[in-house]
Subunit: 337 residues, 2 copies
């Protein structure tokens, strides 16, 4: 289990990775980061999930918040608001702005996102190799009932909002951050994913991995989006190494965030077992559920996925490391089986 | 003298304008701002002179410094430096960054600089109509002895640096801010000016003006660059209204800045009289020199330019207003003559 590949979203994945690095300090960890949450704000390219991984592992994260920079200030955002330039609902701090400025400048100079991410990581030294899932543009859109009631006949995802009544496709960040997932998501569409190619190094990293781990990231908009890039799901399924996952659902609710909202959009119950079945035995070899969900172990195993109940609350790095050890242990069992 | 047109650089022009607005509160003041100092930094379009005018008249300027924003912080710049991204010699503060972000975003959306400047001024309400001299790209380059000694065979200004020994063309901001004009300027070239068109409204404002004022801005890299845009000098000379200037040189030295360095590059002595002759009687009708330069009045008048010696130190707004009143008075005399 020397080479570990992790598919990660933002906060949940990043915190799990911190535990994994403690649990397996000798491992070579490659992280494929979700870029479906990426958004252009103020003309700048913002990659929330990549940055959360980078800041968390590099020691720059705002610990309590889970995203953004520690010791952050907001002068730029206040000034933009004074110019009447929004959105105001996205909390970009001054330190964070610098990251987006560097990224945008490098992208404008012609570097692909993967090269830009590598350059940014030169500073942060996250202790993992961080790869965006793709260098191509993918934007997760969410189809909702139009809060303004004005409809949107042609959503950016190509959906015919008009035919659905008054529905509207919004960027995932708008749904998640501005609207706080307060209304049902009728569909979650990773726009552009079908045309995207895995970033350089992604398929190679999968092929070389000794184990693939799905951390407790959102199964729809984080891990699901990465798997939607053609070639990635297939490469993982065909890699012939254990694929183990950690449930982001504990006691029928997301540990944090609003994963239940987007699970409903894909017809998946917000239970640890349902998420395991959603990934499916064709992809997933083993699954960790929390001890409070111990009664679902049998259900998951009945679906052909090895399962164990262990404490899954990432209360601190050591507790998280223990989760990671459990994931590596069950992977070893899969391999031996 | 209801409609006043002012050709302005940064600090000197902006401070003079503040006095002018006090001296002539009923006037309609149009400012043609120099954009030759503009520079792309961190992928953002920075317009130092336009912003200095806007911030000074809009109440946002750092008073002591004369440029940049009051109550400024530097988190973004510090972070960029942590990424190894420079230049570090250009002092962009967090509040200032917001202006450049808005500007860059609007330019990327297709708005010309004149429209962007108008939009930024919606916030600042400078009390003048601020027009960039052109919407086209002009960049003032300075030809210097190469401090690295490595030469630069093809300067961006088209000069053959190699043939001159080891000379190098640097952006004006690099010469002025990074190198602090510590070495002689062999030439000052407003690259692109010959292809530039006056911004919308510039020629109309000149045609409608009752008086044209050259404030104590740099005669070479500020007023001179504006005059280098084809059509502007001619329109002013042909407008048939008084053109009056205020000397930026007092007692054979620039009041602030390093105007003497760039005056030398165009073969002009750093004296109040020499600057008046540099503008020339074909353009300039009247000239104000400081009282310490009273003995140069005769020399200026001998060159065919009406001249008066008055206090020219802009120690406060009222002293500056008094300068502006003197400029309007001498303009009235020109008109009556």
């Amino acid at each position: 289990m020397r080479r570990i590949l992790v598919l990660s979203g933002g906060i949940g994945g990043a915190r799990f990775l911190r535990g994994l690095l403690r649990a397996a300090p000798e491992a070579e960890v490659t992280v494929i980061g979700n870029t479906g949450d990426d958004i252009h704000l103020f003309g700048l390219k913002v990659c929330p999930d990549l940055d959360t991984v980078m800041y968390t592992l590099g020691g720059g994260i705002h610990e309590e918040q889970g995203w953004g920079r520690a010791d952050e200030t907001f002068a730029v955002k206040e000034e933009l608001a004074a110019y009447g330039v929004g959105p105001e609902w996205f909390g970009l701090g001054d330190r964070d702005f610098a990251t987006h400025i560097v990224r945008t400048q490098m992208l404008a100079a012609g570097y692909p996102l993967s090269a830009v991410t590598e350059a940014l990581c030169q500073r942060w030294q996250p202790g993992v190799r961080l790869l965006p899932m793709t260098d191509d543009r993918v934007e997760t859109h969410v189809l909702i009932d139009d809060p303004d009631g004005s409809g949107n006949d042609a959503g950016a995802d190509g959906s015919d909002g008009g035919a659905e009544g008054r529905r509207r496709a919004v960027h995932f960040q708008e749904y998640w951050v501005r609207l706080r997932a307060a209304m049902p998501a009728h569909a979650v569409v990773p726009v552009g994913a079908d045309q995207a190619k895995p970033a350089p190094g992604v398929l190679e990293a999968i092929a070389e991995a000794d184990v693939v781990v799905f951390p407790p990231s959102n199964p729809v908009v984080s891990v699901g989006t990465i798997l939607a890039v053609p070639g990635i799901r297939e490469a993982i399924a065909d890699a012939g190494v254990p694929v183990v996952g950690v449930s982001p659902i504990i006691g029928n609710a997301p540990v944090r965030g609003m994963a239940d909202k987007v699970l409903a959009a894909v017809g998946v119950e917000a239970t640890a077992a349902a998420v395991a079945r959603h990934y499916g035995p064709g992809l997933l070899d083993a699954w960790l559920v929390d001890t409070v969900d111990a009664d679902s172990v049998a259900e998951v195993e009945a679906a052909g996925i090895r399962c164990r109940a262990v404490p899954l609350l990432m209360t601190d790095t050591e507790a998280t490391a223990e989760m990671a050890r459990a994931a590596l242990t069950i992977a070893t069992e899969v391999k031996a089986a």
